[in-house]
Symmetry: C2
Subunit: 723 residues, 2 copies
Amino acid sequence: MYVKRFRYYNYNLYRTERVILLQMEIKWEDCANGIWKTIIGCEDKFNPVLVMDAAPVYEKLRKLTETNFPQSVTLMEYEITNGKTIIRIPLQPEERIYGLGLQFMKINHRGKTRYLHVNSNPKQDTGESHAPVPFYLSTGGYGLFINTSRAITIYCGSCVRKDSKNPPKAKDNVSDPDFDYTPLSDLIEVVIPGNGTEIFAFSGSSLLEIVQRYNLYFGGGVLPPKWGLGFWHRAPSAYTGDQVVKEALEYRKRGFPCDVIGLEPGWHSKSYPVTYEWSQERFPDPSAFVSKMAENGFKINLWEHAYVSPEAKIFTELEPYAGSHTVWAGIIPDYSVPEVRKIIKAQHRQEHIDIGISGYKLDECDGSELTDFSWMFPTHATFPSGNDGEQMRQLLGLLFQKTTAELFYEVNKRTYGMVRASNAAASTLPYVLYSDLYDHEQFIRALCNSSFSGLLWTPEVRTAQSSEDWVRRFQTVCFSPIAILNAWADGTKPWSYPEVYDIILHYVNLRMRLIPYFYSAFAKYNFEGIPPFRAMHLEEGYNPAKVGELYKEASGFEKTKSWDIFQDEVDNQYMAGDFILVAPLLAGQKERFVYLPEGKWYYFDTGKEFTGGNFIKIEATIDKLPLFVKDGGIIPMIPAYNHVPAKGVPVPLEIRHYGMKSGKFLLYEDDGESLDYKKGNYQWFSLEVNIEDNGKKTGKVSGNMDKFYGSYSEIKWNFIDTL
Amino acid sequence: MYVKRFRYYNYNLYRTERVILLQMEIKWEDCANGIWKTIIGCEDKFNPVLVMDAAPVYEKLRKLTETNFPQSVTLMEYEITNGKTIIRIPLQPEERIYGLGLQFMKINHRGKTRYLHVNSNPKQDTGESHAPVPFYLSTGGYGLFINTSRAITIYCGSCVRKDSKNPPKAKDNVSDPDFDYTPLSDLIEVVIPGNGTEIFAFSGSSLLEIVQRYNLYFGGGVLPPKWGLGFWHRAPSAYTGDQVVKEALEYRKRGFPCDVIGLEPGWHSKSYPVTYEWSQERFPDPSAFVSKMAENGFKINLWEHAYVSPEAKIFTELEPYAGSHTVWAGIIPDYSVPEVRKIIKAQHRQEHIDIGISGYKLDECDGSELTDFSWMFPTHATFPSGNDGEQMRQLLGLLFQKTTAELFYEVNKRTYGMVRASNAAASTLPYVLYSDLYDHEQFIRALCNSSFSGLLWTPEVRTAQSSEDWVRRFQTVCFSPIAILNAWADGTKPWSYPEVYDIILHYVNLRMRLIPYFYSAFAKYNFEGIPPFRAMHLEEGYNPAKVGELYKEASGFEKTKSWDIFQDEVDNQYMAGDFILVAPLLAGQKERFVYLPEGKWYYFDTGKEFTGGNFIKIEATIDKLPLFVKDGGIIPMIPAYNHVPAKGVPVPLEIRHYGMKSGKFLLYEDDGESLDYKKGNYQWFSLEVNIEDNGKKTGKVSGNMDKFYGSYSEIKWNFIDTL
C-alpha cells in the first residue's frame, strides 16, 4: 500500500539557517489486514513496539473485516523542522478524536491540545497522564499510532493554520452572539521531538474493530489468572506478617471474599529507595508467611518501585548500569539494558517467585518533576543505554511491567498486578493502572477511556467522604479490572462503614458470582482484542453527534458554542463484557441519565424492561448500582465463594437469560493460572438460549460436555421474568 | 575575567550516536562593574537583550560596590547534548534561589523545578507564568541570567546527580522519622533547548545590589508619567463613548480620584481578532471623545491584542509577515520583523497617538495551549523571521511592549499601561503585568517576586467575595505600581459596596496623597535600579534562615522536613519605597504576623512604636491596612486631588517624619510626562530632618529652592508623635 505525497513548503525565510525543509513520499507498508506502517525521516530506535516485542495475532487479524487504507490518512503530510517532526491530517467538521491513553478529563479530544507526557500529577486538562498513549481513534474511521519514546504533542484540531482549507470565520466578541474563543480547526497536527518517526495506521469497519486490530497486532489483551478477578485488599504499609495474617483471617471469619492481599513498602528491609529484600523485623520467615496465607486461600502481591537502595544486595551489580541521577538517593537502573533486567529478575526469582509471590504493585514509575514533590529523575538525565530521561520516563512503566511479568511466565504462571505508568502496545501486560488523585467521576471516565488504548484501569477504593461515597465507589470498583480496597495509607476495611456493610458485601459477592462472566470477557480480550470494560463509543451503532442531540432533548442542556458541541460524550457509563451496561451513581446523586443503545434493556436485578435508543432518567437508592442487560443477554454466574475456586473444584452454575431474544454466550474455561492456554489448553463452551414462537425458552450448552462438567457440578437455567 | 573549566564526561555508551560531548573552557568577558558574560556553544540569536536593545547605565553601575566574580559561578560546568545545553552550578546547604520572574506560588525556588514557559494559566506550581524570567538570584551572592528566547527548565536543587559531591543519605520511609520525599540536592541544573547560550553573571554586596545591576545593565527601571500613579478604572467592554463619559463624570461628581479610564475590546470596530480601528457605532468621533475626557482630567488607555482581523485596514500590508497559524481567525504578525512594527506603529500613531491616547493594555500575549481554552499559536508555528512558535511566544510580550512604547517616545511622551506577558531585560518597559487568575495572597506574593526580576505587577481589583474582601484588595492595590479597578467584565465601581465606601475612598485618597513619595520611588527605580515595591529579601540585613527561626519561635510553627526548611520565607508583606512596610490582610483575617527588620518601626496612622528584629502579631480591623514606617522615615505628601496635578500647578506639601532618628528623603521632580528628564531636565530635592540632643527636630529642604517652590506652594513639616 503506497500513498504518495509531494509537497513543497515555501517559506519567506528571514533566517534560513533555522529551518530544515523536507518533502518526500510516504510509503505505507502492509503489516496485516487493515494495518499499515511507515517510517518518515530517521525514526526513534527506542520505542514501545521494540520494548514490548509482542507477536501480532495474525490468525485473528485475518478474520476481521477487510478494509481499505483510511481516506484521511492518505492526505497525511509531514515536515521535519528544527529537530521536530510534524504530521498533519485533515479533520472533518463533526469528527471526534478518542483515546490517547489513560485520560481523566475528557473522552473526546477534538479541539484540545494533548501533551502526551508521563505525569503522576496531571491536575490540569493537558493530556498528561500516568499512561499517555500516542494512539488515537478518529470517528473518521481510523486509528493512528506514533511509535515513539518521546513526549509528543497532538493538536486535535486545536490550532488553525493560516493556509487552512476550511478556516473559521473571524468574528467579534462584542457583537456576535456565536463568538467562540476556540474556533474549529480542520487539521490535526502532531509534533514529535526528533527527526522522524515510525507510524502505524489502523482501519476498521467500526471503532471497536480498530481497537481490536491495535490490541491484536500487539499480542492481544491480557488474560489474568482467575484469582485476579476476585477481591483484593492492600494492608497498611508498616504491618508485620502477623498483622497481615490477622487481617486476612478477619476476612474469612466474616465471610467477606478476598483473593489477594497486597504488602506495601514495609515488607522491604528499606524502602524509598528499596532493597527488594524482606524486612527481617516484620517478616522474619517470608516463605512460611506466604505458605500460611496460601493455605487460607490468599495470594500475596508485593509493592515495589524501581529505585535501588545502596543497602540492597544487588546494588553493586546494578550500579554500573545506573542513570546519571538518583531518586530518593537510590540509583535508577537502566531497564533498557538486558543485563539490568537479568540481575533484577534473578533476585526476584529467588526471593519472591520461588516462595510463591503472585505478583507486584509497580509504584512511582510515572513521577512529576514540576510540582511540589519533585521525585522523578529529570528529562535531561542520561542512561548507559544512551536513552535520555524523557525516553526512560515515557517507557519505564512498560519496561518495569514486562520485566516483572516475565518472571512469572518463565515458571509457567500467570500474574496480575497494579502499575502506575504505562504506554502503547501494552495490552498483553498483566497489570492494571491505579492512582488516587482523581474523583469518582474521573475514575469512571478513565475506565471508559482506558478501553480505547489497550489499557486496564481500576477505580480503586481507598477511603471515602461518607458511607454513601463508600458504597458508590465500591459499586464501581466491583465492575472493573481489579476490585480492590487499597488500604495502605488509611487502614480501611470493607466493614469500615458498618451501616452500609450489607450493601458492600452484596456487591463484592456479586463480583464473585460474575467471575465466569468476567473471565470470559477477558478471554475475548485475549483472543479477539475486545476490551472487557469499555466506553459506549465502542458499542455498535453509537453515533456521538446523534447521542449529543438526544441528550440535549432529554436533559434540556443547551449547546451554544462550538467548543460545547464536542463535549456531549457519554463519559459516565460503560459496558462490562458483552451484555451488562454499568451506570454508576456518585455520592449525592439520587438520579441520573443513562444512555441505552437501540433495543430493549433489562434491569439486572429485577428484569424491568427499558426501551433503548435514547437517554432515560433513573432513580437509584444507595443499595442500587444500575446495571442493564441487553436483550437476549446471557450471564453465567456461580455462588459467591470467599475466594475464586481453583480448577477442579466443581461449582454449580446459574445461567441467566434476559429478554425476548434468543442469545448466545461463549464461556471460556482453562486451568485459570498457567500459560498452558497458549498451547491450546482451553475450551469455549457455547451457552445458548432458543426462544420458540410460543415463547418457550430452552437452554443448551455446546462444546465438550465432559470438560464442562469437570468445571461445574450442575447447571441451572434462569430465564429472568422481564416486565 | 576568565574562569577555566575542563571536564571530560565518560559515558558507558550503549548507543553512541545519541550523545554529543563537549568540553571547553568558559571565558567570561567583563561587561561592567560586577557584570560578566559568556557564550557557550552556539547561542540563541533571538533573545531578550537583542529585542530590548537597552543601553546599560554605566555611569550608575560604576558607582556600585566593587565585587569579585561570584565564587559559585567559577564552578559552573556545562555540556551540550542531544540539542540541549545543560549548565551546572553547585548549591550550598542553606542557599536560597529567588526570582525567575512573575511567580505566584513560591518566593524561594530551592528544591523546586521551574519550567520558564510563558503560560496564561499556570494553575500548578511549575514555574510557568505570564512573565517567566530566566534570571535568578542566589543567596550565595550572585545572579545568573540566561539570555534566551527558549523555555528553559531550571532544577533549583530539585534533582540529585549520582556523582553528587554531597549526596543525600538513603533513608527508609517506614522507620526513619526524618524521611524526606524530596532529598536535598547540592546542584542547580539549567536545561536550555539548543546548542548553546549566552549567560550573564551578576555579583553584588547584597541581593539588592545584584538586582540594581541587572536593572541598570538593561537600562534602569521605568519612570512612569506622574498621572500613571493616580487611580485607574477600566470601563465595561461594550460601553459606548457616551457611557464612558458618564461613568467618568460620576467619579468627579462623587469626588473619587481617577486619572485613567481604560477602554476594553468594544472600542475596536471588531475584536478577537482586532482591527485597532474605532467602532463607528460606539465611538463615532474618537478625537472629540478623547478631548472631552482630557478636559475632565482623564487619560484614555486602549485595550488591544496582537492578532489582526481580516477587516483591519492594515491586514493586507501585514499578511506577508504573518506566522503559519491564526489566533481567533486573525493573523499573527511577526513582531520580530521591523517592517511589521513600522506598519502597526504608523496606524497606531495616526488613529490613537495623534488624538491623545495615553497608553495601551496589551492583552492575550501570553496564552495557554494545553488547557481548556487553547487560544495561542502552537510551539511549532513558524514565522517569516525564522523564529518558531516557542520563541515568539516567549518574547511576544517584550516585542509588543517595546513597539507600543516607542510610539510615545517618538513624540516625546511617556506612557504607562498594562500587559499580560513579559520576559527578561524588561525593567525599562512602561507596562505593569496583570491577570485575575490568582487569589489575593498570590497577588501579594507576585508583588514581592516581581521585584527580583525587573518587573512590575498590579494586584488589580475586579470584583470581590464580600465587602471585606473588596476592602482588603483595594488596600493592597493602592500600594502597587497601578492602583486600578478593572471593571471590564464585572462593571464594578469603587462604590459597589456602599457599606465600605468610606474605607475605599480613604485608601485611594491616601494613594493620591503619597504621589510625591511613590514618584520619587520610581525615580530611584529609573536612576538606581531599586524596585519601588519590593520583597523583604532585598532589605538590608534580611537573613532568611534567621527569619525562618524567628517565625518558628513566634508562631509555634514546626518545621519537620527539609522541604519545609526553605518555605519559611516572608511572602505576604513588602516594602513600598524606602520607608513604608506594607503588611496587607486578607478577607477573613483579623490578625497577622509581620516581620519587622532590626530597628524601630512606627504605625503610619498613629505613630505607635514597634521594635523590629522579630515577628510581631498585629490585629487590624477592616478599615486598617497595617503600614509601618522605618525609624527616621520621611514621607512627602500632598492633598488628595481627584487627579494628579499637572506640572506647574502648585500644591501644598506635607513632609512627615517618624521616629527618633535623623533622616533624609530625596524628592524627585520633573515635568511628569515627557522624556526631557533623559536630557537632564529633572531635580532631586533633599528633605532632611535633623534631631538635636535635646530632641528638637528641624526640617530642611536642599536643592534649587526656586524650582522646588515652582512645584509646591507651601511646606508643612509634620513630626509625628511616636509612642
